[in-house]
């Protein structure tokens, strides 16, 4: 009985090698917005009177553990899709987390009634529009962009 199982495993691995190669090649093509390291800013809507946040505070906000600003305004988090380079950059450099970790956590929160999770927008322009037009919003943008938003200094210690 063990032998058929092992034969099956080797067949599966052999067959999937081709699929794997194709997907690895397709990965860079499928990736979205490109940005280099340290070229992003954490931004909030003009209604938010916060000038500085620590990394730990940002993590609390982006993991849904903190849902209100200190003045009582509801926090609405906007992010790009997991595959987007800017989102990956934000997760890696600012939060020091992995995008799949956050996705999993958000799914757990959403599908078990634990609370509200970030809104995932499908384009960079949609992200900027959402941040500009939503009271209490927080997100990230490329450093070079001039937008009608308030920049938050992040203490990365």
């Amino acid at each position: 009985m063990k032998k058929p199982a092992l034969r099956w495993l080797s067949k599966v691995l052999a067959h999937n090698r081709l699929t794997l190669v194709l997907l690895v090649l397709a990965g860079p093509i499928m990736a979205g917005h490109k940005v280099k390291a340290s070229e992003l800013n954490v931004m909030v809507n003009e209604s938010v009177m916060v000038a500085e946040l620590s990394r730990s505070e940002l993590r609390q906000i982006f993991t849904g553990q903190r849902q209100y600003w200190s003045d009582g305004t509801k926090i609405t988090v906007f992010v790009l899709q997991d595959r987007d380079e800017l989102h990956k950059q934000f997760c890696r450099d600012i939060l020091q987390m992995f995008p799949y970790q956050l996705s999993r956590l958000w799914d757990q929160i959403t599908y078990s009634g634990q609370g509200l999770t970030p809104v995932r927008v499908t384009s960079y322009q949609a992200l900027i529009d959402a941040l500009e037009n939503t009271t209490g919003a927080i997100g990230y943008v490329e450093r070079t962009d001039i937008v009608k938003l308030r920049r938050v200094e992040v203490d990365l210690k």
Partner: protein
């Protein structure tokens, strides 16, 4: 049950109509093909079946700054693994306590709450949040799933969010409805009466760094059950107590992740088969699963899961001897080796396949059934391929 689901639907639509900005709703649909070969765990007669369906719809409505209502209904079909049909997964009032002191937060759920004490229990029926369609049976025994998913009662969670580490303390007390399928798993198909759960009391503690890179935790469960026989029954009235202790751990790296849980459960039964019958059984087991992320879209998994029904009889030899040979020794344990592949075809679309090779059958069927031996060979296998979409 129909009334409860109708009430949940009415409540969700009322909340949606009341305010769009404070209401959010989500859902999922998953359909697969599956087969168990050499065992009736999923299908009878080694048939390939489409009985791998999961559909869910949930709503979350914020009534006030600290008070919300959350509910989810779902439809499940898992072949022989559990009762097919629609059910209310959860429906509770979520009360976020005012900040207790610096960095301490509290949250209370009242109603049908979800079990937050194990790694996968909180979203066990949500296909895209699971590692595999069939979860490791040592911990996530499908025969006992509805009791382990959540209960009607109260759950409290206290979190300490530090600059380097987070602590999570969870406590819950409630009761679950036990349907006839679960009764058969516990007492065998000869039982015709009703099992009532007196209570289930659970507590857990988890520690994580603020980056959430790893998580370690411990949990405890204690539950009492009472059996009332029907007029023409092959069982007598009786009671059982189950106590479970578990350790859990997870680690996340950029391209791989690993999770593991080990458990010890003690079942103390009285009555049921004879007025003076008393039995104490200690089962042990656990699993480890490793996932490697080849790229953004494709990942592979290997896993091992093991469980022994009674640690004093690890090979099941006493079980076979005491049953006069009607229960083969391999029903005393179960070892499962798993491989799986996951492909994220597009955002919110996933195709997931898995194969399990199994030795032993202690989690396949109730050992109190008369026809235990006919339910599984010593070595058997199962596989599934499932397409899922969520929103």
């Amino acid at each position: 049950m129909k009334k409860t689901i109708t009430f949940a639907l009415w409540l969700m639509s009322s909340c949606a109509a009341a305010s769009h900005s404070d209401f959010s709703w989500h859902g999922y649909v998953a359909q697969g093909v599956t087969q168990s070969k050499g065992s009736s765990f999923i299908t009878d007669d080694d048939k390939i079946t489409g009985e791998l369906t999961e559909i869910g719809l949930n709503g979350y409505y914020q009534l006030a700054k600290n008070v919300s209502i959350a509910g989810q209904i779902n439809y499940l079909d898992g072949g022989n693994r559990f009762e097919q049909g629609a059910r209310l997964d959860y429906l509770f009032v979520d009360w976020k306590l005012p900040d207790l002191s610096e960095n301490w937060r509290g949250q209370i759920h009242i109603g049908r709450y979800k079990n937050k004490h194990w790694l996968y229990s909180v979203t066990r029926d949500v296909p895209q949040t699971r590692y595999t369609s069939v979860l490791p049976q040592s911990v996530y025994f499908d025969g006992f799933r509805d009791v382990a998913l959540g209960s009607n009662g109260i759950q409290a969670n206290f979190s300490h969010l530090g600059s380097h580490y987070n602590w999570d303390l969870n406590w819950s007390y409630g009761r679950s409805h036990i349907n006839d399928t679960q009764r058969d798993f516990l007492l065998g198909s000869d039982a015709n009466g009703k099992i009532k759960q007196d209570f289930v009391h659970q507590a857990s503690v988890f520690l994580q760094p603020s980056s959430l890179t790893w998580k370690v935790g411990a949990s405890w469960l204690n539950s009492d059950f009472r059996y009332t026989p029907s007029l023409n029954d092959n069982r007598l009235s009786g009671e059982a107590n189950i106590e479970r202790l578990m350790l859990s751990a997870q680690y996340f790296a950029e391209n791989w992740e690993v999770s593991a849980e080990v458990l010890r459960e003690i079942q103390d039964s009285k009555g049921l088969f004879a007025p003076d019958f008393a039995e104490k059984r200690r089962g042990e087991g656990g699993f480890v699963q490793f996932r490697y992320l080849f790229n953004n879209d494709l990942s592979g998994l290997i896993g091992f899961d093991t469980y022994v029904n009674d640690v004093s009889d690890r090979q099941g030899k006493q079980l076979e001897a005491l049953s006069g040979g009607t229960i083969p020794a391999y029903f005393g344990y179960q070892d499962t080796y798993t491989i799986g592949l996951r492909w994220d075809i597009a955002p919110k679309w996933r195709l997931q396949g898995e194969y399990h090779w199994v030795e032993g059958a202690t989690r396949v069927v109730s050992l109190l059934n008369r026809d235990v031996a006919s339910h599984a060979d010593k070595y058997w296998e199962m596989w599934s391929l499932q397409l899922m979409y969520w929103f």
